[in-house]
Structures are given as C-alpha cells and as structure tokens.
C-alpha cells in the first residue's frame, strides 16, 4: 500500500485452531496472499507450543534458526518485515509457562509477567518490529472489579515492561478489547493515565472499541498523542451493555453460545451494516499525522484469503490508496 | 416392516455445483454415509451428461457397466435400494439431444412418455418403485393454468403413469413451493388424473414453504399419496414471490426479497417449521405405505445433514411408527 500511512496485515485469522497453519507451505501461502493484496508487512500473534510455530518466539526461532532466518522466510513471499507482535500474558501458555494462569490485576503475578515478556521483547526487537502489542488485563468476567488502585497496579506492570521495551528500542502498546476488565472509556483513560507516556502507548482497535461501546473516532481525537498502534477492522454488533460479563464470554458472547446467538462478531472493512466509520477514522489519523502502523485484520471470520482480498479492495477503492 | 414404511435419503444435497460429486469414491462415501445413518434406500435426481454419473440410466451404464452394475454398487454400500428417481422434464437431455420438455405441450408427449419409461424401466432392477416428477413449471414461468391446460397436463401424466406402471413403478406428482399448482390447483389436477397410475408426492418442506400445511394435504388426499419426502422448511413465502418470473433463481436460489439464506434443511434443523412427528402420525393413520425419503436439499455439510436426519428417524420417527402400529393392532 503506497500511502503516507503505514499499512500492515495481521496473520491471526489464519491460525483458527491448534492444529492448523502449522506447515511452512501453508504459512507461505498466507504470506503470499497478504503480499498479493498489497501488504508487505505483517503482525504476528502469540501462541504456544510446537504447532504455533509462527506465533511463539522460541518456536519461530527453532523453525528458522534466527531472527534473520525468519525474515528470510517472510521475504521468500515478498513480505518485508514485521510491524508488531501481539501478546496476552493472561492466556496460559501451556508449554512455555507451565500453563499458569496469571493476571496483571494480581500483584503477586507481576514479577512472573515481567519475566514472561522477555522472549517477546527480544523477538520484537530482533526482527525489527516496532511494537509489542499487549492485552493489558484479563477478561472482566474473570477479574474482580477494579477500582482506581487496581488500575494503577495494572499500569505499574506495564510501566515495568515498558522500561524493557524502551531499552530494546521498541514500543509497548496496550490493546483494548471488548471483553477486558478495563472496559469503559473512563477506565481506559485511567489506565493510560497510570502509565508512562514515554514508553507505553495505546493500541486502538476500531472493532473492539465499537463492540465495547467506545466510539473509536472520538476517543482517537481526544487521545491521539497516546495512540501508537492501530488495528483496523469492522463489526456488525455492539455489546448490549453487559454481555461481556457473562461467564465464559470468549465463547458465550463471542461465539454466540449463550447470548444472542451471534456467532461471528468481526468483519472485513466495508462489510454490509458495519458499525465502524472507517473513512472518518482514517481521516482522523491523517489529520493528526499518525505515524505508527495501521494493521488491518479480520480476526476469526471465515475464509482468510477472501477477507484479506476484500480488505485490500476497500483500501484501494474506498480509501483510494494505490496498492504499489 | 414398520407398517410398510421404508426410509430413504436423497442424494441431491451432495451435488451443489455441476462439477462436484463426479468421482466414484465420492459416491461410495455418500452411499455408505446414508447407509450407516440408518436409511435403506437412496433417491436419485435426474441429470444429464458425463458429470452426472447418477443422472439417468445411460450414465449409470456408462459408469457402472449396466444398471445392474449400479445396483450391485448400491448394495455393496449396504443400501437395499434406489427408492425413487426425481425427474423434472424441463431439464434437457444431452443423451437424447433434447431441450426442455413440457407436460403442457402436446407435441412433447411422446418424448415425455419415452423418457419416463426409460427411468422407470431402470428402477425395478434397483429395488425402486416411484418416479417423482415435477408436474408443471413454476407459477411465474407459465400463464395461469386454465381448464385446457390442466386437461393437457393431466392427460400427459396419465400417459406417463400408464407407462411407468408397466414396470410396476408409481408416478408421483411433486408439488414444490414455486409450482403453478401451489394452492388450489392441486386438487384441480389430481382429480383429473387416474388414481390407479398417478399419485401425489408429499414434500413437507416444499408445502410448508408454500404456506400449505402438510397435515391438511394428508387428510384431504391421504389415499392418493404415492411418495413422501421429508425435509424441513426454514421460511415461508408469505409474499407470494413464487409468482415472479425465474423464481427458481430469484426466489429459490437467492432467497427472494428477504434474501432467505436457505429455504430448506434436514428434518429437525434449528428453526425448522415442520412438525415431523405429527406428519408421521398422520401418514400412519392415513395408512400410507411406501418410501419416506429424507432430504436436506442443499447443505453446507452433507454428511452432517444425513446423520442429523438419521438421528431423528432412529430416535423419534421410527419408534413413533411402531407405537402407532401397536396401538392400531391393539
């Protein structure tokens, strides 16, 4: 994408189950698809174990020998590099972390989480990526209610990790999602206030904001100085107000199990009935001369190649961005 | 034998596109799936050309050596029979170099009878007994059927019925939800045909989608039912969209103005509108004996549809028939 904004594409939508997207030729096909759609930079998502070998730093290195080896692998498909990597310390990593459940909301877990971040920080720096994108806190239904102190404690963990990322020359971006215990605009702002602007930024995901009831355009305009990373995707639904608190919301809400039977929440840009005003949001980014990565993704929503192509079409024809 | 009721499953759902489901190993897996899901028979759908190996007797012969050879293949998959063949005369025949045939055109009558004879001729060898036909075109594609037209159509199906009867095969008129016979034309045609050779094919899904309660049809024409298809309907054409031209495409395939994603599914599907236990009970009470062919029509996942339908038949419908029969005997 030839633009003043820098565009990347997220690979997460290909890795929809534990035993898929494992073979190198499958990964090459995804990378070529992304490349053919006009993106030469990708975002990675974290995972665990031997079948997540384009997700977990240690396993990527085991596959490709070194950071350079991995970049060579990407370049075989004309993908030039990695913009960023997503990591959720609350997601138990079976193989690397002994399946321990930890939460930034629990002070006793802070040291372990800071320790766990190290392979990610090293990897992000090693492959020349700019941002470590993180889930700042676990799901609301699993977390006791947070008061101001609680949010401050979470901020402290990220300040500590922010020191590590800064020392390695990369950014740390907190990624709000619609299930997180930091849920309202006020809570999110409090979390930003609790972190050091010099080392910790916000990853603004347009669909997650919209589902969670925060208008992404307004919030961006008010906090543009803190936004260091963007996930651009669309949704057709918003939380009715408290679905995110349902036990097992990852499945009861986002897979339609116990709620409104909405079995798919996230959509490609330009989807019919999409709630995100993508055009206005991108215009706001341009107004503020946003300089970070804009990562397009479609999360888990059907055929990955089809969604990548529809996203590319939207960028080219609705936003008028030349592909090359 | 379940009061003379036998259960089959229709093959059509396995072939969503013309170049799908062409290879022998795919047929074998589908037939084995139907068998292990608890069905005795399979219903074929008429088709033409080399990518329709199960479409007509000539293709069966080209692929399996002979109709008998196909029968062995079916029985090798542990199915007892091909229950029936569904035939819409508007489908062309590459084998005979003919275009669409119409039951309303007197000139087509000899060809119609000949084609029916050919399909019916193959059925007994395959253990089958019914030729299921589309009796008239869609409502949007023909002028409203007047007395003359109905007379010609009735004469056509009587002739066809006599021809298939020579092979011991019943001709059953299948009224779908787009049919020009929807609503009150059904009796108009049925009453003009010879009950000895022409019967009705009751399709629960098509009737329901057409706004007709299958139970009323059973109570009115129970003695004329020669074949039954069980599929579920997920929506009803309440706005009479079936009257539009090319409704096959615009309404059936695309879903009409409301863009119904899917009109039909296997019995018992989520959101299904048909009360299958009630229909089954009514059929038993009406003394129906013959095939009930279960269908999903199209399916995003054919094997799953067959298994889910098998579940309903095994656990609910078949036991229900036993109970009804015992009650009747007592």
């Amino acid at each position: 994408m030839r633009d003043t904004l820098r565009w990347a594409y997220a690979l997460n939508q290909w890795n929809v189950r534990l035993d898929v997207f494992v073979r190198h030729e499958d990964q090459q096909r995804a990378l070529k698809t992304v490349s053919a759609c006009g993106f030469d930079t990708i975002e990675l998502a974290s995972g665990t174990g031997r079948w997540d070998n384009i997700s977990r730093p240690e396993v990527i290195l085991l596959n490709h020998g070194s950071h350079a080896g991995f970049l060579d692998f990407l370049r075989r498909a004309s993908v030039q590099g990695v913009s960023s990597m997503f990591w959720d310390p609350q997601a138990p990593a079976e193989e690397e972390e002994g399946y321990a459940f930890r939460s930034t909301a629990n002070p006793a877990d802070a040291d372990a989480i800071v320790e766990w971040s190290k392979p990610f920080v090293d990897f992000v720096a090693g492959v020349g990526a700019e941002q470590l994108v993180v889930r700042p806190v676990g799901s609301a239904w699993m977390t006791p209610p947070l008061d101001g102190d609680g949010i401050k404690r979470i901020g402290d963990v990220w300040n500590r990790i922010g020191e590590l990322t800064s020392a390695s020359g990369v950014g740390l971006a907190l990624h709000y999602d619609c299930l997180g215990a930091v849920h309202t605009a006020e809570e999110l702002t409090a979390l930003l206030d609790a972190t050091d602007p010099a080392s910790v930024g916000l990853a603004l995901d347009t669909a997650e904001f919209t589902v969670g009831g925060i208008d992404p355009v307004t919030y961006y305009r008010e906090h543009a100085d803190r936004v260091t990373h963007i996930h651009l995707k669309d949704t057709r639904y918003a939380d009715t107000g408290d679905e995110y608190r349902m036990p097992g919301a990852e499945s009861t809400m986002l897979k339609g199990g116990a709620g409104r039977r909405i079995e798919r929440w996230f959509y490609e840009l330009g989807t019919e009935g999409g709630l995100v005003d993508v055009r206005a949001f991108v215009a706001a980014l341009r107004e503020h001369e946003y300089s970070g990565w804009v990562v397009v993704e479609s999360d888990h929503g059907g055929n990955p190649a089809e969604l990548a192509m529809l996203n590319s079409w939207y960028l080219q024809h609705e936003l008028g961005i030349p592909k090359s | 034998m379940n009061g003379g009721i036998r259960w089959g499953y229709a093959i059509n759902q396995w072939k969503p596109q013309f170049d799908d489901f062409v290879r022998r190993e795919q047929h074998e897996r589908a037939l084995k799936t139907i068998s292990i899901a608890g069905f005795e028979g399979v219903e074929l759908t008429y088709g033409t050309g080399r990518w329709e190996p199960l479409g007509n007797p000539q293709q069966l012969a080209a692929n399996f050596g002979s109709v008998t050879g196909f029968g062995e293949f079916v029985r090798g998959c542990a199915l007892d029979a091909v229950s029936s063949w569904y035939w819409d005369p508007a489908e062309r025949s590459m084998e005979h170099l003919t275009g669409p045939l119409s039951p309303m055109a007197e000139d087509d009558l000899p060809a119609m009878v000949e084609r029916a004879r050919e399909l019916a001729g193959a059925l007994p060898e395959l253990g089958g007994s019914v030729l299921v036909v589309r009796p008239v075109p869609g409502a949007g594609d023909v002028e409203p059927l007047g007395d003359d037209a109905l007379g010609r159509v009735a004469a056509c199906w009587d002739a066809v019925g006599r021809a298939t009867a020579e092979h011991g095969v019943r001709t059953a008129l299948h009224v779908d939800f787009l049919s020009a016979l929807r609503r009150d034309h059904v009796p108009a045609l049925l009453d003009r045909t010879d009950p000895a050779v022409v019967g009705l094919a009751l399709d629960t899904g098509e009737l329901t989608a057409g706004g007709i309660d299958p139970l009323t049809v059973i109570s009115a024409y129970g003695d004329r039912i020669a074949h039954v298809q069980f599929k579920d309907a997920l929506a009803v054409d309440e706005a009479e969209e079936y009257l539009q031209p090319h409704a096959h495409w615009t309404v059936r395939v695309r879903g009409g103005a409301r863009e119904i994603p899917r009109w039909f599914a296997e019995p018992g599907a989520d959101g299904g509108l048909v009360d299958f236990p009630a229909v089954t009970r009514a059929l038993v009470e009406a003394g129906y004996s013959g095939w009930i062919v279960v269908e999903s029509d199209q399916s995003p996942h054919p094997a799953a549809s067959a298994l889910l339908a098998g579940y309903l038949v095994q656990r609910e419908l078949r036991p229900l028939i036993e109970t009804e029969k015992e009650a009747a005997d007592a």
Partner: protein, 314 residues
C-alpha cells in the same frame, strides 16, 4: 502502469461457501460483487468469462454491456475473452464430421450476435470433441476440423473477434503431431492458438516449444499449472477424463503451486522474446477440489505473476 506490455485477466471459475453449500459468483449480486472485488484487489486488470453465462448477464444484469459496467465499477477494465463451452456430440456437433458443420456455424452466428454489444478479443473453443469420440484421429478428420474452424473464424472475424483454439488434454487434438497437422490446415487469418500451459503439459506437449513454433498466431494464454502428466488412458477415460480419471483427482493448480510441472519462467521469457503484448489470462479451474480454495489460489497466482513473471517481462 501505462508502459506495461502485459495485462492480466482472470478466467472466472469461482466458488465460495454459502449458507446452503458452495455457490459460484453468479449466485447473487452480492456474491458477484465480492468476487470482482477480490479479483481487483489482487491486481488483475480484467476478467474472461464463459458463453453460457450470457443468460445470467441478460437475466440478472440486463445484458453483457450492463454486466461489463458492473465489472468496470469494481475497477476492472472489461471482459476480454469468452470461452465457448459447447456440448460436443457426434450426432450434431463434431468438428471432424462435416455433416454437423452447419449446426456449428449457426451456433456461432447466434452466439456472436448475443455478444455483439461488447467488444471481445477472443472467443475460445475446444477445437475437437472428446478424444474417445474422435479416435482414431486421422488426417482427414483433422482436415475436416480445420475446415470447420476456418469457417467459424470467418464468422467471428465479422464481429471483430478472434476464434482461438484451446487444446484440452482430453480432446481429440492434443498430441503434438495432431496439433501441428491441425494448424497446417487452418488459416492463420481465421484460426488462432490459445496456449493453456497446464493442458499441454498434461498431454505431454511442451507448452513453451509449442508457443515458440506458433507465436505469430497465438492470441492468448491460460496460465495455470498441473502436477501430473496424463498416463495410460487418462486422456480417453470414459465417460470423462477431467474429473474422473482414476489416476488423478485434481489436474489443475494455480501457477506458483509446489510441485508444479509448468516452467513458467521459460514461458514468460518466450512471451517476452516473441514480443507478445496484451492479455495473459490466469486460470485455475476446480481449485476447490480436494480442500482447495479459490480466493487463496487467486491470490497466490497473482502473487506469482507479480513477483516472478513480471520480473521477467511486464
């Protein structure tokens, strides 16, 4: 962009998954729109289509010109070629049987009239019946076939469209010797060659050498790949070779596939060295067989065109 010699067109085989099973792009305006967007997104410039789609063009879109407007609304230039998929039958439609020629000629008069509201480059035909319906392939039969297409070519030329022949591996004219004989009897003014890389490769014919020999009358290409050469009776398997050959469940793959047999680098070099300018069509029919996916195959093939082939010649 404006200096390029080669533009890419997509031959519109396509399937996607719908709520009631796999559908093609003609299923609805929505599925058509999603199809065209995806083709455009990967950088194709145009599409090719099939003759039998003309009914849907008239029925759903108001004719080929209106349909082409929709194609253009999605950023593609136009419809470049159409493929005439006829029911070959020795009783009424067999180029090697002169008694059927008048029927064939009439078919083309009607067909070209239907297309006349837009400007096509080529109408593509399989020049012979299925192999088993033509064998033994004699010199006479090749000659009759050539005569037939010479006359058809004259009709299509009257509409400003080239008649071009696409040699399926399972059709009557697929061996190198028969192809050469066939072209020796056809008039270069009226009959062109359309090189399908995979079909020739499957038939054991080197598509690059074939192209080099006939470059002056090649009017287009299907760039697609295969992993198998036909063996034994694959090319004359009854009733069908394309889907039913016992040796091979899937013949066609998108270019850029692993284990592909076509040497596309050599092909593109030949395209360059022969000074070919114009459209190359990308095709991968039946990409969805055995778990494949059209969207992905389309992206991969366009990736390959951009990153490998355009480096050779653009």
């Amino acid at each position: 962009m404006n200096q390029q010699n080669i533009k890419w067109s997509y031959m519109d085989h396509w399937r996607s998954n719908g709520p009631s099973g796999p559908v093609d792009q003609w299923h609805s305006h929505k599925t058509m729109s999603a199809f065209l967007k995806q083709i455009k997104a990967t950088g194709f410039d145009a599409i090719d289509t099939f003759d039998f789609r003309i009914w849907q063009m008239y029925g759903d879109y108001g004719g080929p010109a209106k349909y082409q407007e929709m194609v253009q609304d999605n950023g593609l230039e136009r419809i470049v070629n159409t493929f005439h998929a006829a029911d070959y039958d020795v009783r009424n439609y067999a180029p090697h049987i002169p008694a059927t020629h008048e029927y064939i000629l009439e078919d083309f008069r009607v067909t070209m009239g239907r297309w006349s509201e837009i400007q096509l480059d080529n109408i593509i035909v399989m020049p012979a019946t299925l192999y088993y319906d033509m064998e033994p392939v004699t010199e006479d039969k090749l000659k009759y076939t050539a005569e037939c297409w010479n006359k058809v070519g004259e009709i299509t030329a009257g509409f400003g469209v080239k008649l071009t022949c696409h040699h399926e591996f399972f059709c009557g004219i697929q061996s190198e010797a028969d192809i050469e004989t066939f072209y020796s009897y056809t008039d270069p003014q009226y009959v062109s060659l359309f090189v399908d890389t995979a079909q020739h490769c499957i038939a054991g014919v080197d598509p690059v050498a074939l192209y080099n020999r006939h470059a002056h009358r090649v009017s287009g290409f299907h760039f697609k790949d295969t992993r198998n050469v036909a063996t034994g009776d694959d090319h004359r398997h009854r009733p069908d070779s394309e889907i039913m050959a016992p040796t091979t469940g899937k013949w066609f793959y998108e270019m850029g596939t692993d284990q592909g047999l076509v040497d596309f680098a050599a092909m593109m070099t030949a395209v360059r060295d022969n000074g070919y300018r114009g459209w190359i069509s990308v095709e991968h029919d039946k990409a969805n067989k055995e778990g494949g996916d059209y969207s992905e195959s389309t992206a991969i093939s366009r990736w390959y065109a951009k990153n490998v082939l355009e480096e050779i010649y653009r």
